[in-house]
């Protein structure tokens, strides 16, 4: 596939921002952001801070779990006008907990338009109540009614379906063609509404419940331009690429063990070191495989999201834009 064609596509994720606790942990402060064309929204956001329960980041902090905000107006959202002006229609806040303590809140915004085909689903399991993982909340845009209908009535067991696989492994799970795989249990409905890419991210939350966030999108609207999963070694000192997918070049192979990232090195290494999502605005200048991949595929920026479980680093996910 031609890299130039791919980079011209709008990604499903339009805006990413990272909010971190202030020094006295009384508020969430702006740490980093990637706004693409939504520059005015970025300018507004950079000046803000959120207390516990305030706005979308503060609400995720308070509740200790991910939140999907499908409608800004009338909700506890403080940037409604700015978001609407940029065509943003859905916000997701993912708190990152290292054990009981919040390290950051990752906030993602998506846009909705006529060509849009995609869905964001939050799946959860409360072990005290059930062995099933069921849909907690979802955003389906305007074209995915049939898909939503079945999602809301389906329950997955651990190890089954993309949410169940992420739940079992505590690792990100990606499927590039949902219609062909047996792992995606709602393939028929997904194909009908044009959804063919699935990426599921386990969320580090406070409490016993498990949450996984599923990003489902169409070929014309990729979730991101490239994504990779990096795994720490036994000592947690190095990250090695375990695989991924690039809209420009296809399947991204696992690293050969020699191309690793040291803890603290580059955007991914810093995310592994701090447990805080990081934004690298110039992906091409990143060290090692990250910079090489960005240069080869013509990618602009990279976001590194640490995946934690029980306070330990399980993986770092790299999203390229």
């Amino acid at each position: 596939m031609d890299a130039a064609v791919v980079t011209s596509k709008k990604t499903f994720i339009r805006v990413v921002e990272v909010w971190v606790p202030s020094n006295d942990r009384s508020t969430l402060e702006f740490s980093a952001g990637l706004y693409g064309s939504a520059k005015r929204f970025g300018a507004t956001s950079r000046q803000m801070c959120f207390g516990l329960g305030e706005g979308l980041p503060g609400q995720a902090w308070l509740e200790g779990r991910p939140i999907v905000l499908k409608q800004f107006a009338g909700a506890n959202f403080r940037r409604t006008q700015a978001a609407h002006a940029e065509g943003l229609t859905c916000g997701i806040a993912l708190p990152v907990f290292a054990g009981d303590f919040l390290t950051a809140v990752l906030v993602i915004f998506c846009g909705d338009d006529e060509a849009h085909a995609g869905a964001i689903e939050l799946w959860s399991n409360d072990p005290a109540a059930s062995k099933d993982m069921t849909l907690d909340d979802g955003y389906y845009g305007s074209t995915a009614d049939a898909f939503e209908f079945i999602s809301r009535r389906t329950a997955f067991r651990q190890g089954h379906g993309l949410p169940g696989l992420a739940w079992e492994s505590r690792l990100p799970v990606f499927q590039e063609d949902l219609g062909k795989g047996e792992r995606f249990l709602r393939a028929d409905s997904a194909i009908k509404v044009g959804i063919n890419r699935g990426f599921v991210l386990p969320c580090a939350t406070r409490g016993a419940s498990t949450f996984v966030m599923a990003f489902l999108s169409a070929m014309a609207t990729p979730i991101v331009r490239r994504f990779e999963t990096w795994l720490p070694d036994a000592d947690g000192e190095r990250l090695t690429r375990s695989g991924g997918f690039c809209e420009a070049t296809g399947t991204v192979p696992a690293g050969d063990g020699h191309d690793f990232i040291e803890r603290g090195q580059g955007t991914l290494g810093r995310a592994a070191f701090t447990g805080v999502p990081m934004v690298g605005e110039s992906a091409a200048s990143e060290p090692g495989l990250v910079g090489a991949a960005a240069t080869a595929a013509g990618l602009d920026a990279v976001v590194a999201v640490p995946v934690l479980h029980d306070g330990r680093l399980r993986a770092v996910v790299a999203w390229y834009f």
Partner: protein, 275 residues
């Protein structure tokens, strides 16, 4: 040390299956039929088990019936552990299992006496048996023996016998599998009416996708064996009473049906491919 000794009891919960596994010894070594089975069935709920042949759905039903003992895990019926068969679970098999030398009434009476004979007199027991036969529309054939009635009628008597014991759960193993399509459809409709009347809690094994969607509150879809387990559970939110003809064109019904077919024939089809 303070201990909270008051367990919370969910009064709606009829059946709990917790971490149940079933391993059969064979000449070639242990055969894992089922693993990690976890399921709860609420009072008044109609649950079907669906999956390919050999996926262990009948094994699971037999475990709940107490006909076999699980290799691991526990099963609770209204918070009491299941340790064997009992009248608190009425079982209807594909084969009607009626005693050929007894009339329909006596077949039902046999089950009724087993449960209620210590508390009730003969007249009351007979009333119970007749009421059960009336519920399944078999009042006209109480004196007939099994060989004198059709396959569908035999299954009705089997259902009457199970219901007459007033079980906490009705367990049905492909009860309509041996019947022709028209008789099966009629009995499915009648079963829905009976369940609506009695509020019975039902677990039923079936191969039939339409039957599963028509009857169920939840469809439990099982992965292929060996070492089969529950893969997906589909909640069927179709309003009741359900009318077969109207449902055929119902958009939601079609969606549910497609999901089950997709699970069985796209995602878990390798048994058929290998055959």
């Amino acid at each position: 040390m303070l201990v909270n000794a008051t367990p919370s009891i969910n009064t709606r919960r009829t059946l709990q299956i917790q971490d149940v596994g079933m391993v059969f010894p064979t000449k070639r070594g242990p055969f894992v039929a089922l693993r990690d089975i976890n399921l709860e069935v609420q009072r008044g709920e109609f649950v079907t088990l669906i999956g390919h042949s050999g996926c262990g759905k009948s094994t699971l039903l037999n475990l709940v019936a107490g006909l076999t003992t699980p290799s691991s895990g526990i099963m609770l019926l209204q918070e009491r552990e299941l340790t064997g068969p009992g009248p608190d679970r009425g079982v209807v098999f594909q084969n009607h299992s009626l005693l050929p030398w007894l009339s329909c009434l006596d077949n039902v009476l046999l089950a009724v006496e087993r449960v209620f004979s210590e508390k009730e007199g003969k007249a009351q027991l007979r009333e119970r048996a007749l009421a059960a036969l009336d519920l399944v529309g078999m009042s006209h054939a109480v004196a007939k023996r099994p060989h004198e009635i059709s396959g569908g009628m035999k299954q009705r008597v089997g259902i009457a016998r199970a219901l007459a014991m007033e079980p906490k759960m009705l367990l049905m193993d492909e009860p309509f599998g041996a019947l022709d399509a028209l008789t099966r459809a009629r009995l499915q409709d009648e079963l829905m009416k009976i369940v609506a009347t009695t509020g019975a809690t039902v677990m039923m094994v079936t191969h039939d996708v339409d039957e599963a969607v028509l009857l169920s509150d939840r469809i439990v879809m099982m992965t292929n064996g060996p070492a089969a387990t529950i893969g997906e559970v589909l909640r069927v939110d179709l309003p009741r009473p359900r009318v077969r003809v109207a449902l055929a064109e119902n958009r939601d019904y079609v969606q549910y049906r497609k999901e089950v077919i997709d699970f069985l024939y796209t995602r878990h089809s390798h048994v058929e491919k290998a055959a």
